[in-house]
């Protein structure tokens, strides 16, 4: 009952294809749905949570289609990206309402348990309008958790949440995954996914680009040529020294807006990162600036899709 299956799912709006023929099975544990903005993550989550009809294919939870089946919500919790507009309620009232709507036998206790689980008890009796972004996120999570669903879907849960609260949320999701729940969260930030997801599904431009263990995907992403721009006290000497490194594939001298710089292409990021400081010190060169030029997630995804 806790396996969410997407079977050749597509979704289009007129001529625009948002999700293109995606098949995946989301099982117990934490799964990260990784992709750049606009890749179709929210559309996928909407279909997984029964709030969007697939144009083709089917989404099933425990073998039953989720679209237009409100009984699915007994097993499913959703934390939408959308803000709670019930800001005149207190956190406790908000979670309590959810418990009542799920027709739980002891709504008071379930509410308290959910609030404790997300560590929101202290602020529970304040109106949501006074909450910080992270607290709102936890209130939403508590409301989605109150009926202890087997499957929890979260759309960009870490967006705008400060680092400390982010750590807390991550621990919470990890714990729920360890309890055997199916937890899926979307993110466009590699590091977030890396921290908590054992399993990663990558979507790019509506297509299912990669799937599997995080380590494998991370290797795919890191073991690729990476470009850096370096500014130093002596670019020519630095270029010569860099070229001797095994991890460096090419070096070019260039000038941008009147400032000289070195463009380096490396094959092994880690090796390069370790070598550069030593090399510069030995040669008596001061490195003023080191910028990765294609570290953006989009370029990582482009590389992934091509490979």
């Amino acid at each position: 009952m806790t396996e969410l299956v997407l079977d050749n799912v597509s979704r289009w709006y007129g001529n625009v294809v948002a999700v293109n023929d995606v098949s995946m099975t989301i099982g117990p544990g934490v799964t990260g749905l990784l992709g750049p903005n606009g890749a179709g993550k929210s559309t996928l989550i909407a279909m997984m949570s029964g709030f969007l009809a697939p144009s083709a294919g089917q989404v099933t939870l425990g073998g039953r289609p989720v679209w237009r089946d409100v009984t699915a919500y007994s097993e499913l919790g959703l934390v939408p990206e959308r803000e709670v507009s019930f800001s005149y309620l207190t956190g406790r009232q908000f979670v309590q309402a959810s418990a009542e709507l799920h027709k739980l036998s002891d709504t008071r206790r379930a509410t308290q348990r959910a609030l404790e689980e997300v560590d929101l008890v202290d602020a529970a009796d304040r109106p949501i309008s006074t909450y910080s972004k992270g607290m709102r996120q936890r209130a939403k999570l508590a409301s989605a958790l109150v009926h202890e669903p087997g499957v929890l879907l979260l759309d960009e849960p870490f967006n705008g949440v400060d680092p400390r609260q982010r750590m807390h949320l991550m621990e919470l999701l990890t714990r729920m995954g360890e309890e055997g729940r199916t937890v899926l969260f979307s993110s466009h930030i590699l590091e977030e996914v890396e921290h908590i997801a054992r399993h990663v599904e990558v979507v790019v431009s509506g297509r299912h680009a990669a799937s599997g263990d995080f380590g494998a995907i991370r290797r795919l992403m890191t073991d690729r040529p990476t470009r850096y721009t370096v500014r130093s006290s002596d670019d020519r000497a630095l270029a010569a020294a860099l070229m001797r490194q095994r991890s460096v594939r090419s070096v070019a001298l260039a000038s941008t807006a009147g400032t000289d710089e070195v463009h380096v292409e490396v094959t092994d990021m880690g090796d390069f990162a370790r070598a550069l400081p030593t090399l510069a010190r030995d040669a008596g060169i001061t490195v003023r600036e080191l910028t990765p030029t294609d570290e953006s997630l989009e370029s990582v995804f482009t590389y992934l899709v091509q490979s």
């Binding site: 903005n37 409100v70 009984t71 499913l76 959703l78 939408p80 959308r82 507009s85 019930f86 309402a97």
Partner: protein, 235 residues
């Protein structure tokens, strides 16, 4: 009906500024009755103040604000998801929200019209008629406006167009439009219940059937829209 949904809808209505505006409308009608009575020195024209202003303007406006307060904004900003991601039937969600809007509007409509009748010094039967018209009108208008606010994000404008254009504007020119006018159904029913002269050229049976149809179809349509609610991502 789901008490939690109704309670949340009530909190949304009375807990915010909308609640003040809602309560102000019937108060304005009562003030109008008082002023008219003081200026003319005699009892107000029941038909002029209670029907033409009360039933034709105040009741629909109260119903419009209430109906759009319980459903429209939540659909617009997507936060209705929090109510819909539960095993409660979407039709029950719509009906419970309508019930709150109808209840609040009926209290304000019936209370406002009856208070205006008393303040205006009209006869006893007109007080009863005002209360009936206010309550029946509120119940029917909220059903219609709840359906409109579920159908389009411009539910408020759609409702205003219906009241101002169909009922008020064209209705006075094309008398046949009384057959699709909630105000006409309400007047005909009130006339029968309170036994007063509030003439509408319409069979009572038609008025009752049409009124029940508006109510059932309006609430059912809102439920159907919620059953097909689609969450749009920001992307």
């Amino acid at each position: 009906m789901n008490p939690t949904i109704s309670r949340l809808a009530l909190q949304a209505l009375v807990g915010q500024r909308r609640g003040l505006v809602l309560a102000a409308l019937p108060l304005v009608l009562v003030l109008l009755a008082v002023v008219v009575r003081l200026l003319t020195g005699e009892a107000i024209s029941a038909r002029g103040v209670l029907v033409e202003v009360g039933l034709a303007v105040v009741v629909p406006l109260v119903a419009l604000l209430a109906a759009n307060g319980v459903l429209g904004p939540e659909i617009d900003d997507g936060s209705v998801v929090y109510l819909l991601s539960t095993p409660v039937s979407r039709y029950v969600v719509a009906a419970s929200k309508w019930l709150t809007a109808a209840g609040v509007s009926a209290v304000l409509g019936a209370g406002g019209l009856a208070a205006a009748a008393l303040a205006g010094g009209v006869s006893g039967r007109w007080v009863l008629a005002s209360a009936v018209a206010g309550a029946v009108g509120a119940v029917l208008y909220t059903a219609l406006f709840t359906a409109m606010s579920a159908a389009t994000r411009h539910g408020m404008i759609a409702g205003l167009v219906y009241v101002l254009l169909i009922e008020r504007g064209l209705g006075t020119l094309l008398t046949g439009l009384r057959y699709v006018s909630v105000q006409s159904f309400t007047q005909r029913v009130t006339e029968a219940v309170a036994d007063i002269d509030m003439p509408v050229d319409m069979g009572l049976t038609y008025a009752v059937v049409a009124g029940v149809f508006v109510l059932v179809a309006g609430v059912a349509f809102a439920g159907w829209r919620l059953a097909h609610f689609q969450l749009r991502g920001d992307e």
